[in-house]
Amino acid sequence: MDLSYTVLILIIPLFVFLLLGLFFRRIKAPLSGYIGVAGLTVTSLISFFVAFEYFFKIGMVDGAYQKIVAFKFVWLHFTSTMSISIGVMLDPLSAVMLIVVPLVSWMVHIYSLGYMKGDRGFTRFYAFLSLFTFSMLGLVLASNLFEIYIFWELVGVSSYSLIGFYYEKPSAVLAAKKAFIVTRFADLGFLIGLLILSYYAKTFDFVNLTSLTFIHNLSGIGTTFIGLSVITWALILIFVGGAGKSAMFPLHIWLPDAMEGPTPVSALIHAATMVVAGVFLVARLFPLYYFIEGGIALDVVTVVGTFTILFAAIIAITQHDIKRVLAFSTISQIGYMMLALGISKYEGPEGLGYMAAMFHLFTHAMFKALLFLGAGSIIHSVHSNYMQDMGGLRKYMPITHITFLIAALAISGIPPFAGFFSKDAILAAAFEHHKVVWFTGWFVAGLTAFYMFRLYFRIFWWNDPKYEHTPHESPKSMTIPLMVLAFMAAFSGFIPFSHFVSPDYVPFSEHMEWGLAGASVGIGLVGIILAWILYKKENDLSTRFALAFGLFYKWAYHKFYIDELYMFVTKEIIFKHISAPFAWFDRHVVDGTMNGIGNSTVWISEKIKGLQSGRVQDYAMYFVSGATVISMILWFLIK
């Protein structure tokens, strides 16, 4: 069966981008939106169709899902085995992403018709959205590690353009720059890792890289470095790349600032899709991570993931900017996915963690996009990001309120909403693996419920501040995507995910651990109740709580001063103590030397000018003594 039509999934958004990008001054406001939405509708439908075809018709052979290279084109040739090809590879992983990415993107496109209405950069916005969609789809469909890297960079730049969308705002510009540079720094790790890996593997193709025989041949070759084999280091470096994009500690600092972008962008890129690219990358290379040197690299993933969920959740509790709360929440939730991957094993039901990670990725995309879009809807009507300016909004914005509530319940892991199932699977897998990991995950589930409902109550209940403009419900174009996503957030948990996704591509059946599920639901409810007590009505309990935590609260409020640390390193160390000396050295030492050589001739020239005294007698003396001295010198040379 010819599957090369799948490449249309990439071509259509690219075409839309080029169309809107090249003629951004000709195509005026609403039209460009319609073009974008139409393009994405077609893309989404094809994607859904392909995913459906894959899962139910062509993917399964002999009880296991296959990797199908639907399209391949050698783009850059290195050696006979190593080349960068632009290709489309279908497997369960990419098929799942083929649902997540177009769906959320489609919703965001529609939503933005309302949200961005009247904005000067409307066409630009849609162009970038298309670019992002193109890049993200390319990333998930990539058949080749280098192809991922290419699209990795492209999503990075679309993210940059969209964070800096309001480029007249200095804060937006700074945030965009920060996001790009931090992720690019991480990408350097990815690049080096993939180059080291490819040096030993002699290939970039996933079909080879993830096959077990290949991995078997690969393990044990190469030198060691600080006790670990080079390939493990390569994998860790690749994870650094993933951690950068997925905002894992300590590379998370860009994500909260990235909220300077328009809210639909935050929903699409910085919540649902791009930020999970790191998770996707690790999942992509999972067999390598698992089998090389007994999975040391995977342990790194676990540790980073576990620490990040706790760290981000604590910060989320203290923030006032609703988008920042959501941003830290995102970091924390992605940490869950990473953690789940880290603890997963390979075969059969033991691959629960892997499945859970992808499952959580899926559900999280739905409810987090919903939360962001809801937040966008709120910001749209209140014209503020800060929860201090909000309260009692449930009366003004009923649809937003309900959908937001559904999303909050989903993220808090309350059944029957989607988050319950995926988070439960993660915790179940963690319980098998290590109790500390499980406990942290369980505790953070409570924190999650608390900060989510703190947000919810503070926005929709509390008391009614004096609004200058009465808030009102958003237009249809915004509420319909909310409802679609709310539907997904509510019910997507019932998808039997383990039948589709597993590390060895062989479906298995999952069993509910009711005891563990009860525990996590329990702590979720505790969190919700605590939030209800503190934030249902206006009171000063929360401030008293904050005071009770004292210094710790202050630290958490300042995000543990990680940003300041980075600023110190970049501004003080790199700029002042590396860059400036380099520039100085260049001007004064290197250039000074060159100029010095030049000036020394002039100096000598000045010093010897006395030779030419103007007295003809001196000339004669130099003449005769010169001849005499030269004769004498030559006499010495005769010997």
Binding site: T601, Q612, Y619, S631
Partner: protein
Amino acid sequence: MNWNQILLMRNEIVLTLIILLVLVSDLIVKDNRKKIISNIAIGLFVIHMLIGFIPMPEGSLFGGMYRTNHLIFGFKIILNVGVLLILLQSASWLHDKLQDTTKIGEFYIILFSSLLGIYFMVSSGHFLILYMGLELSVLPISALAAYEVYNRKSSEAAIKLILSAAISSGVFLFGISILYAVSGSLYFDDILGKLPISYFSVMGLVFFFSGLAFKISLVPFHLWTADVYEGAPTPVSNYLSVISKAGAVFILMVLLFITMNTLHDIWIYLVYGITVLTMFIGNFFALRQENMKRFLAFSSVAQAGFILMAMVSANQAGVSSVVYFMAIYIFSNIGAFGVVEAISMKTGKENMKDYAGLYRTNPKLSLVLMLSLFSLAGIPPVAGFFGKFFLYTAAAGQGFYVLVFIAVVNVTISLYYYLKVIREAFLRTSDTPIAYFKSDNYMKVSLAIVAVILLVIGLYSPFYDYIYSVSNIVNF
């Protein structure tokens, strides 16, 4: 000795006739129409130059005292062309600047006499002829240096020149007398092979060398150069810097390469050391100069160093590269001096600073200046590049890479000061630039010919091929 043999001295004979003719016409022409003598002299000289192109056999006269061969024949043609260009520039100067027009005729007579001396010097086969040629070439030029009788600088230059020349000829003679004592003969052909490496012959070599080095302006025998060039009338400086230098270079080369080849192991050190010294000192002094004539003087000192560099290779490549470079150097320097003269004649300005904004007022003049300076600096596609390149090749061919390295360092230094002039003329603008002026036709023709020659002579390879083919005078 028959008529045909006498014709070997064709150049000298014709030039002598010209001198006499000019002398006679100077007597005939009335005082207020003296300018016509310029035309007569130049016309006669053109005829002389054309005669010079007629092929001539090799041979010698007077028992080997006078000799000629194809290389000398070619070299004299180059000298003739150079002198013609200088004559054109001189005519322009004589008509414009000289208050006393009755002296126009004398100028040509004296200049031709000096050229005659150089002819003899180039053709000499005996030290006596060499000595006489040398003196005949330098004494008339001292007189010409004092030609602006009311200019103190001119007289000062002349006295410096003649005193230095006298000292130098003294040392030169002393050296020859020692060589005579060692070898027993004054004929070049007889000396060949009779100079052993000994204290006496080395001393004789150095003293004799310094006499010619004086004319070539090699360090430390160059000190007169700048003062004389600055003070003397520009055409005279021009002549000194190219024609008389070229003659001395040529005969020095012939003597070192052939007559004194037994001393090769010694004079190679001499040439090496003097080359390095000359290039550095010439360049360092040129860096600082503000007066254009003085600047060109030191530049010509440095150029002499480059010429000498090729002499480390005593073979056909060495001879041909020296002669080739001399030819190019003659035209480049004539161009540069010509422009300086044209400007100094019309405006009296000789300082580099005065040239600011020259291109914007006098573009054609500036272009000739640029071509000449680029040629001196050795920048393609102007002829100087090829000349310099072959000089390096000659030196490197004998394995003197260090010397070539020193030379290229010096080329870079020299580029700096040549560009300094270009900077004034092209890059800068001035509130009081040299106003636009028209030179007379003599000057125009001269500069136009120079420009064409500089552009063509390097790219036109048969010129070099010819010089190379006649340069097979050395065989050891």
